[in-house]
Amino acid sequence: MRPFTYTRANNKEQALQAFTATSHYLGGGTNLVDLMKEDVERPDQLIDVNNLDYKKITSNDKGGLTLGAMLSNSETANNKEVRTNYPLLSMAMLSAATAQIRNMASNGGNLLQRTRCPYFFEVSMPCNKRDPGSGCGALNGMNALHAIFGYSDSCIATNPSDMCVALAAIGATVEVQQADGTSRMIEFTDFHRLPGDRPEKDTTLSQGELITAIHLPKAEFSDHYYYLKIRERSSYAFALISVAAGLQVESGVINKAGLAMGGVAHVPWKLTKAEEFLAGKKPTTENFEAAAELEMKDAKPFEANKWKVDMGKNAIVRALTQAFEREV
C-alpha cells in the first residue's frame, strides 16, 4: 500500500479544513481501505470522520427519520424505529455483505461504495473509472454482470449497494456539508450519476463535501415491502439483480409504489415508470407484470447479460407480489 497521512477530525470544521484534492474521508473503511490495498484508490491523506457526531437516528420535520451518516449499517438496520417504519430499508441493509462488514460500514460510506467491476479492481487493465482515458475493458470483455440501463461507451459498471436500492425506492434525501460550512440537500435520485463521459465520478458530490445525514420521508411502505436479492450464494455476495419494492395499499388499490432495482445500472435504478403505472391500480399479477414489462423493455443488454432482462422482469413481479402478500 502507498504511504498516506492519517488525520483524525473531531468535528466537521476540522474535517472540512483538512480536506485537500487528494484526500478521502474515512468512515468504516470497508471499501476504501480494500481499494487502497489494491492500489485502485490512492489518497495522500485519509481524514477519519468516525469521531464526528453523526451517529444518531432522530425524527425529522417531514414526519420521517433522519439517519446519521456515521452510524454503522448494523446499528441502522437493527434500530427499532427503522425496523418498524422502514422495514424495506432494514431488509435491504441486512442482505448486504456480512455481519462483520455491516458492523464496520457507515451509512455515509455505503452511499459512496464503488463498483465491483473486475476491470476497475485490476490496475493493469484499462478502466475509465479508475484511470480516465484508459478505456473500458468490460465493453468488449467480460460483461455478464454489467449494466443493462444507462451505461455509456466509457463505462458499463454497476453500483453494488443494497442499501441505496432501498433508499431510492423510499425516496430519501442526502444532506451534505459543503466546504464553505453550509449544508445542502440532494434528492436521492440525484445523488448518484450515470457514467456519461466522466465515469470516474460516481456521485454529484463536489470536492470535499461531507455526507452528514440521510433523511427518510414519512414512512409509507411499512406494511407492504420486500427486498429481493438474487445471488448465487446465500450471503456475502453482491446482487445479480435486486429489487426494492414498497406498496401503499388502501381498499384494494395501490396508492403509491416505491420501486428501485440494483445490479442493472451505474446508479440504483429507480423504476419511475412502473411506480407511476401502478399508482391507482389494483395489486394484481397482471398489473405487476405490465409494470415490469414497462421498465424492462428499455433494457439494452449485452450478449452476455441478456439473462438480466428475463431475471429482472421476474424479480420485479416477485418483489411486488411478496410485498403485497406480506401478512400485516
Binding site: 479492481f121 485490476e122 487493465m125 450464494r233 446465500s234 439473462w307 421476474n314
Partner: protein, 726 residues
C-alpha cells in the same frame, strides 16, 4: 482383530489432540515461527499473458527505506531448469523461477522485493516497473483453441471391448457434454515460507503437504544435497492439493535468503493464490452411454478435453471413474490437452473423481430418465465386484449397500420420478442421487516411537514427517499408538511435519490416514516385539508395555517401523465407495436454489475416529456444494488474467448454503487394503456431490444443467417455464 482397551483407541470419537493448541493460537503455522532477523519478500506478478520483459526499472523501489534487494531474472541465481517440452508435473518437481525474461502467463512471478517489513516489501513491489513486449499469440481462450489440443503421452487413454459395437447393441444412447470451470483450492492458510540459507544448508518453514517431496524439490532446484535441506511444517491450514508440490515462492525465499544473508519470509497473497499455487483446469467431458431397455449398460465412453500450461503438463484423470465404476464391457477413455498461457494446473481435491463423477453420474441420471428406470436401481443393475479396468477384484465394494441404506435414510421412496411434479409455493422440489468412488492408495511409511517410563506410566512419542493438513492426522496417529501400545491416548505425544523425522508419503490422495497409522502401528509393534524378544517373552503373551520396559530395565526405548502395501494388496483394486443424496428447492422465477438436505453414505474401511472422519466428509460435501453452486475462476478473454481475484469474486459456500447433512459410515474393515483395514476418506466426500445436486435440479425443474457451476443466471437462461428438456 485389535481390541481397544479404553475409549481413546482406534475407532473412538475423541476430540482432536491438538485442538486446544489451535483454539489458543499456539499451533504454529509456517509464517508464525519467530525467526530472528527475519525479513520479508513480496513476489511481483507479470501483467501480460505471453511475451518478454524488455526493461525493468527498480530505481524507485530501491530508494525506499527498508528495501534490501529487488530480485529479477537479471540478478537471480541460476537454477536447475525444466527439461523437455512440457515435462509432466509431479509432487517432487523442481520449481525454477526468475530464470529468464520470458513470460508464459498472466501472473507469473517476474520479481521479488526483499525489505525489512512486510509493508515496505509490498509497497516497493508496486513500484518496480516492467516494460513488456507482448506476444499476440498467447493462448488464453479455451473455446477458440480447440485445434491446438494434443493427446498426452502418458498411457491414460484406455479402451476395452468395442465402443461402436456396444453402442450398436444399445436400445438407448445418451451423448452429452459436461463442463467444469477452472477452480481453485483456496485453503484458509495462505501458502507461506520462512527460509534461511546458512552456508549451503537450507531450512524452510513451509506450508507443505508432503515434506519429503518439498525437500527433493528444493535440493533439485538448487542442486544441493538432500541432506542439506530441512523442511518443517508442523501445522498446515488446509491444502486440498495446492500444497502437494513445492511452489515457486519457496524457491524465491531460499534464493533471497542466500542473497541478503537473512531469513526471508514470503507469504503468497490471496490474489496470488489464483495464479501461483495451482488450480484445477477447465474440463469439457463428452460422455456416450449405451444401454439396453432393461437397463444393462452396453457402452460407456468418456472423452476429456482440458488444458495444461505451455511449460508443464498436467492431466486430470477425469475418465478414471468411467473405467471402473460400472459393469460395462465396452469402454473407452480418452484425453486431450490444450497448452494454454496459464499456470500449470495440478491436483485439486479428488483429482479425476470430483470432476469425472459429475459427468458420469449426470449421464447415468440422464440414461435412467430415458429408460424410465429408478436411478438407484439402474446403478445397482450395473454394479460389479470386479474392477474391469484393472482386471482385479475390488478388495471390498459396498456401493449397493451405500445406495440402499442411503435411499432408506433419505426417504427416496417419496421422490416423484416425473420432474416438476413436486411443488410448494414458488419452489420446485427435486431429489437427486449419485454414486461415488475414490481410489484408496496406500504407501510406504516409516515412523519412530520413543517410549519413556515414568513411575508406572509409559509415555510414547511418535515421530514421522507426516503432515496434518487439518484432517486430524495427529489425533488418529495418537489413537493408533494408544491402541497398539495399550496406553491411554493422553500418554501419547505425536510429532509431525519435520524432515528430520522418518519419511512418509505425506498428505494427499487420501492415502494419509492408512499410511500414517499403519506406519505408526509398525513402530509400536516393533517396539513391543523387540522388548519381548529381548527378555524371551512369547509374542502372544499379554504384558503391559510398562512391564516390558521394567523387565528390560529400561526407562527409555526407541523403535522404528515401516509399513507398505502387501503382495495381497497388489492383487486387488482398492477403492472407497459412497452415495450422495440431495433434496433441492429451486425458485421458479429467480433461479436461486436451496439444498435442503443431503445424505452421504460412505464405505471407507475402518473409521479411525468418527468425529474427524465426519469432518472430512462434510468438508468434502461442502466443497462439492461449492462446485455446483458457485465456484469458478473466470479468464479475461482479451488479456488472459483471472478476473476472480478474491473471496469476494470467487464464491465458496457460506453456512446458509448448507443444509441438514447426514453422514453414515458403513461398518467395514478392509484387511486387504492394509493391516488396520483403513481406506481413504478425504476425497470421497467431494466426489459426485455436484451430480447429486444437478440431478435433483433436473428432477425439480425438468432442465438438465451440464455446465458447472449451476448459477441463477444459467437457470434463467435454461428457462424455468413448464416442460422437460432432457
Amino acid at each position: 482383530m485389535t481390541k481397544s482397551i479404553n475409549t481413546s483407541g482406534v475407532g473412538s470419537a475423541i476430540n482432536r489432540v491438538e485442538g486446544h493448541l489451535k483454539v489458543m493460537g499456539k499451533a504454529k503455522y509456517a509464517s508464525e515461527f519467530p525467526i530472528e532477523n527475519k525479513v520479508y519478500g513480496q513476489g511481483i506478478n507479470s501483467t501480460i499473458a505471453k511475451g518478454e520483459i524488455v526493461s525493468i526499472d527498480t530505481s524507485e523501489a530501491e530508494k525506499l527505506e527498508g528495501v534490501l534487494k529487488v530480485i529479477t531474472y537479471k540478478n537471480a541465481e541460476k537454477l536447475k531448469t525444466l527439461e523437455g517440452v512440457r515435462p509432466e508435473i509431479a509432487t517432487d518437481t523442481i520449481a525454477p523461477v526468475l530464470q529468464s525474461n520470458k513470460v508464459h502467463y498472466f501472473g507469473q512471478y517476474v520479481g521479488l522485493v526483499v525489505a525489512e517489513t512486510f509493508e515496505q516489501a509490498q509497497y516497493a513491489a508496486s513500484l518496480v516497473k516492467f516494460e513488456y513486449k507482448k506476444d499476440p499469440s498467447a493462448v488464453i481462450d479455451f473455446e477458440k483453441s480447440r485445434s491446438k489440443a494434443y493427446t498426452p503421452d502418458n498411457d491414460s487413454n484406455y479402451s476395452r471391448g468395442n465402443m461402436d459395437q456396444g453402442l450398436a447393441e444399445a436400445d438407448m444412447v445418451v451423448e452429452q457434454t459436461y463442463n467444469t470451470p477452472i477452480e481453485h483450492h483456496h485453503p484458509m492458510e495462505l501458502h507461506a515460507v520462512i527460509a534461511s540459507w546458512d552456508n549451503g544448508k537450507v531450512t524452510a518453514y513451509a506450508s507443505q503437504q508432503i515434506i519429503e517431496d518439498a525437500k527433493i524439490a528444493i535440493s533439485g532446484t538448487f542442486q544441493i544435497p538432500k541432506k542439506d535441506v530441512r523442511v518443517i511444517s508442523p501445522f498446515v491450514g488446509g491444502g486440498f492439493g495446492s500444497k502437494l508440490n513445492l511452489d515457486r515462492h519457496v524457491i524465491m525465499a531460499v534464493m533471497a535468503s542466500k542473497m541478503v544473508d537473512r531469513p526471508v519470509q514470503v507469504t503468497v497473497t490471496r490474489t496470488q493464490m489464483f495464479t501461483n499455487t495451482n488450480m484445477r483446469q477447465q474440463n469439457e467431458q463428452k460422455m456416450r452411454v449405451g444401454a439396453k431397455k432393461d437397463g444393462i449398460l452396453t457402452a460407456l465412453s468418456h472423452e476429456t478435453l482440458s488444458h495444461t500450461s505451455t511449460t508443464q503438463e498436467f492431466q486430470e484423470p477425469c475418465g478414471m471413474v468411467s473405467k471402473m465404476l460400472y459393469n460395462v464391457a465396452n469402454n473407452e477413455v480418452t484425453y486431450k490437452l490444450i497448452p494454454m498461457n496459464m499456470q500449470t494446473p495440478f491436483a485439486m481435491r479428488a483429482p479425476g473423481e470430483a470432476t469425472g463423477s459429475f459427468a458420469l453420474e449426470s449421464a447415468m441420471d440422464e440414461m435412467a430418465w430415458k429408460l424410465k428406470m429408478d436411478p438407484i436401481e439402474f446403478r445397482i443393475k450395473n454394479d460389479t465386484q470386479t474392477d474391469l479396468h484393472e482386471e482385479r477384484p475390488f478388495s471390498s465394494r459396498l456401493l449397493v449397500e451405500c445406495l440402499r441404506i442411503g435411499a432408506e435414510k433419505f426417504g427416496w421412496k417419496d421422490r416423484k420420478p416425473e420432474p416438476r411434479t413436486n411443488k410448494k409455493g414458488n419452489w420446485l422440489i427435486g431429489y437427486g442421487v449419485s454414486a461415488a468412488s475414490r481410489n484408496s492408495p496406500y504407501q510406504k511409511t516409516h515412523s519412530k516411537v520413543i517410549l519413556e517410563l515414568d513411575e508406572d506410566k509409559v509415555f510414547a512419542t511418535i515421530q514421522m514427517d507426516a503432515t496434518d493438513i487439518g484432517t486430524g492426522s495427529y489425533t488418529i496417529i495418537a489413537q493408533t499408538a494408544s491402541e497398539y501400545l495399550k496406553i491411554p491416548v493422553e500418554q501419547v505425544n505425536v510429532e509431525l511435519g519435520d524432515s528430520d523425522f522418518p519419511i512418509t508419503p505425506g498428505s494427499g490422495g487420501s492415502w494419509g490416514a492408512a499410511s500414517f497409522c499403519n506406519g505408526a502401528r509398525a513402530a509400536c509393534e516393533n517396539a513391543i516385539k523387540t522388548l519381548k524378544n529381548n527378555r524371551n517373552i512369547a509374542q502372544d503373551e499379554e504384558v503391559a508395555v510398562s512391564e516390558l520396559l521394567k523387565k528390560n530395565q529400561l526407562t527409555k526405548f526407541e523403535a522404528e517401523g515401516m509399513a507398505e502395501p502387501s503382495a495381497e494388496f497388489e492383487k486387488y483394486s482398492v477403492f472407497s465407495f459412497g452415495a450422495n443424496f440431495s433434496e433441492v428447492w429451486v425458485d421458479k422465477d429467480t433461479g436461486m436454489y436451496r439444498i435442503k438436505r443431503m445424505v452421504n453414505v460412505a464405505s471407507a474401511g475402518k473409521i479411525l475416529n468418527p468425529k474427524t472422519a465426519y469432518g472430512q466428509i462434510i468438508g468434502g460435501l461442502t466443497m462439492g456444494v461449492g462446485m455446483v453452486l458457485a465456484e469458478q475462476t473466470r479468464v479475461e478473454p482479451n488479456f488472459g488474467n483471472f478476473i476472480t481475484r478474491s473471496f469476494a469474486d470467487y464464491h465458496v459456500p457460506v453456512n446458509l448454503d448448507l443444509a441438514n447433512i447426514d453422514v453414515i459410515f458403513l461398518p467395514e474393515e478392509d484387511k486387504i487394503a492394509n493391516k488396520m483395514g483403513i481406506k481413504g476418506i478425504g476425497e470421497l466426500g467431494i466426489t459426485s456431490v455436484a451430480a447429486s445436486v444437478s440431478n435433483a435440479i433436473f428432477n425439480a425443474t425438468g432442465k438438465r444443467m451440464r455446465d458447472l457451476p449451476i448459477t441463477p443466471e444459467k437457470l434463467i437462461e435454461a428457462g424455468l417455464e413448464e416442460g422437460v428438456t432432457a
